[in-house]
């Protein structure tokens, strides 16, 4: 009976997380006319790759009209998404790796207060800072630039990353660092050669979190990336809605493609998320 409940819960959880992805996949391979049929089908009677062709291809026809290729827009947005998410991740992890350590091991006035204030910003809704932030970015000339978007991402995701890295360092025995200091290493050298290699899993977790958050960001680029210069996929894909036609197939095909980079990243980084790096340090 308990097993049954366990599997039922597991099934619901899987349905909950995989279901929408599956539905997007199905929609992306369903012919446009079948999309509006009354019968619910878990897999289209006739599979088609026409939406993907439209996405990657040259011009296409839709409802008898020739439609401009979306590939130039899509590829540019894809690149924008990759670049901003990647840059934000690298910067955030780098700052959190050093900053988190400082909040644990260095003594300076107001250390804990500053940390609380930084983490406290997590509780400020993004909507409330949108307008002042926009004015700042306008006067700094950073609207619709990679620098602007990346800076906003870093400021938004750094508190959580700092928090994470701080707890990673807190869990590490101080005696390791002390041993290195006594061995003649400077604090910076100790951090880079002893602490960071052992904080690997924490750094990877922070990187994954940051990348996923940045990749999925919608509201910030909606406001700060008005043109294709910096516009990411999350903002571009909903624009496939036109005045008199919603191209569900194209949108879902684009969505499926947009899932690929984060999935690849997680698969790649997962192997570094292994536990047990600290084994053998003590006892």
């Amino acid at each position: 009976m308990r097993r049954l409940g366990f599997y039922a819960a597991l099934g619901i959880l899987i349905l909950w997380s995989i279901g929408p992805v599956y539905w997007a996949l199905v929609t992306s391979v369903t012919p446009p006319n079948a999309l509006v049929s009354d019968i619910l089908r878990l897999w289209p009677e006739q599979m088609t790759f026409e939406h993907y062709a439209k996405l990657f291809g040259a011009t296409s026809t839709s409802q008898g009209n020739e439609v401009q290729s979306v590939w130039p827009q899509f590829s540019q947005a894809f690149f924008n998404s990759l670049l901003t998410a990647f840059a934000a991740t690298v910067l955030t992890v780098l700052i959190a790796a050093f900053g988190g350590w400082a909040f644990v091991r260095l003594r300076f006035p107001g250390r804990d207060l500053i940390f609380v204030v930084i983490v406290g910003t997590l509780g400020v809704p993004a909507y409330t800072v949108m307008i002042p932030l926009y004015r700042i970015m306008i006067s700094a000339g950073l609207v619709d630039t990679y620098t602007g978007v990346v800076l906003i991402y870093v400021s938004a995701f750094l508190p959580l990353a700092l928090w994470l890295m701080r707890s990673v360092y807190q869990a590490m025995p101080l005696s390791l660092e002390e041993a290195a200091w006594l061995d003649g290493a400077s604090k910076l050298y100790t951090l880079v050669r002893i602490v960071l290699p052992l904080a690997g899993p924490g750094l990877v977790a922070t990187a994954i979190l940051t990348f996923l958050s940045a990749w999925g960001q919608f509201m910030v680029p909606l406001v700060f990336s008005p043109t294709l210069d910096t516009k990411p996929l999350t903002v571009l894909i909903p624009e496939f809605v036109t005045r008199n036609y919603v191209d569900y197939g194209l949108m879902n095909a684009a969505g499926i493609v947009a899932i690929v980079p984060p999935v690849l990243l997680v698969i790649f980084l997962n192997r570094f998320l292994v536990q047990g790096l600290m084994a053998g340090a003590s006892k």
Binding site: P173, L176, E178, D183, G184, A281, K283
Partner: protein, 351 residues
């Protein structure tokens, strides 16, 4: 090689003072043990010598140089940590050679010195292993090896044996002492285990609550503890310390129970006698204490007898296996020259 001097060391955290002016010297090549119960400040003191902990007052000098404001790495000392603190991502060889590498020592020199240390410690076959592939005792040796390749002026040990099992602890105790005799380096060894201190150290420094209680050779502390605290701390099983009133050459322990006073004193005193200095005597012997046995424990080589004499608990230790059991009535006599007398209020030795 160097001598270490601590002069009137004070440590406070905010308004609470935890170290109250500790002063002692460690001579060049001497092996000194710092002992005391948990929280007595022995580890803090060691970390102050290492430079890992700030000093609120007083001076620490190593080789006649005051090092209060000298960085740990400039103090020319090596420390073996309680949890070993091996670098988990480095092999034994890299762990041991790390300090030399930081000093930009030539590769060949690092190789020879690591090999030499590994030879002394029996780690030759483990040089390419990671710490997690070693047993507890081997990790302990690597931690030692990391200290000795440096050839530092001073060795610091922070309870290095407390994570080992009993048998290994006894073995490492002898090994560390042998290593010290071989290297002749100044060593400070922190432990809460008085047996470790007694067996290894040239000199023991007993601390309690941030104060130095007594410093001296192990047997000196055992034979003539300066106060009741040291008397109770050094020696296992612990010394019997019984409170009484000194009147007319006798100590009145209870209204019905008295023992002869071993030294001139008057008023309230603490009478101390080690369990091993009590002997079984026939009933009616002069100065015998009548004791009802409440428990008997035997380890084979020794028999501990816990007894009750007119409401006071007393422990005795015999090595000749007397046939005793719970409830027996026995008579104990204290060796006259092995008795200790302390003042009740100051706890300072009287005789």
């Amino acid at each position: 090689m160097a001598q270490v001097s601590l002069n009137n060391i004070i440590k406070s955290y905010g308004s609470s003072q935890v170290m109250h002016g500790v002063t002692f010297d460690v001579a060049d090549g001497e092996f000194v043990a710092l002992v005391g119960p948990s929280g007595c400040g022995k580890s803090t003191l060691l970390r102050m010598v290492a430079g890992l902990e700030d000093i609120s007052g007083g001076t620490i000098s190593i080789a006649n140089r005051i090092v209060n404001d000298v960085e740990p790495k400039e103090r020319d000392l090596a420390m073996v940590f309680q949890n070993y603190a091996l670098y988990p991502h480095m092999t034994v060889r890299q762990n041991m050679g790390f300090s030399l590498k930081l000093r930009n020592a030539p590769k060949t020199e690092i190789e020879t010195r690591v090999a030499e240390a590994a030879g002394i410690l029996g780690l030759k076959d483990y040089l390419d292993r990671l710490p997690k592939q070693l047993s507890g005792g081997q990790r302990q040796r690597v931690a030692m090896g990391r200290a000795i390749v440096r050839q530092p002026a001073v060795f610091l040990f922070d309870e290095p044996l407390s994570n080992l099992d009993a048998a290994l602890r006894v073995q490492m105790r002898a090994e560390i002492r042998a290593l010290h005799d071989r290297l002749q380096s100044t060593s400070i060894f922190v432990t809460h285990d008085q047996v470790e201190a007694m067996t290894m150290a040239d000199r023991i420094i007993v601390l309690r609550s941030g104060r130095l209680e007594q410093a001296g050779a192990p047997l000196e502390l055992y034979d003539r503890p300066a106060n009741a605290f040291v008397a109770g701390f050094i020696g296992s099983p612990a010394m019997n310390l019984l409170r009484g009133q000194a009147v007319d050459g006798m100590i009145k322990l209870t209204p019905k129970l008295s023992v002869p006073l071993p030294a001139a004193a008057d008023g309230p005193v603490i009478w101390g006698i080690r369990p091993e200095h009590l002997s079984l005597v026939p009933a009616g012997s002069e100065g015998a204490l009548r004791v009802r046995v409440t428990a008997v424990e035997s380890t084979g080589h020794a028999t501990f007898v816990m007894g009750d004499m007119d409401g006071i608990m007393i422990t005795a230790l015999f090595t000749d296996r007397p046939p005793l059991s719970k409830g027996d009535q026995i008579y104990l006599k204290a060796s006259p020259e092995k008795q200790h007398l302390f003042d009740t209020t100051t706890e300072v030795r009287i005789n």
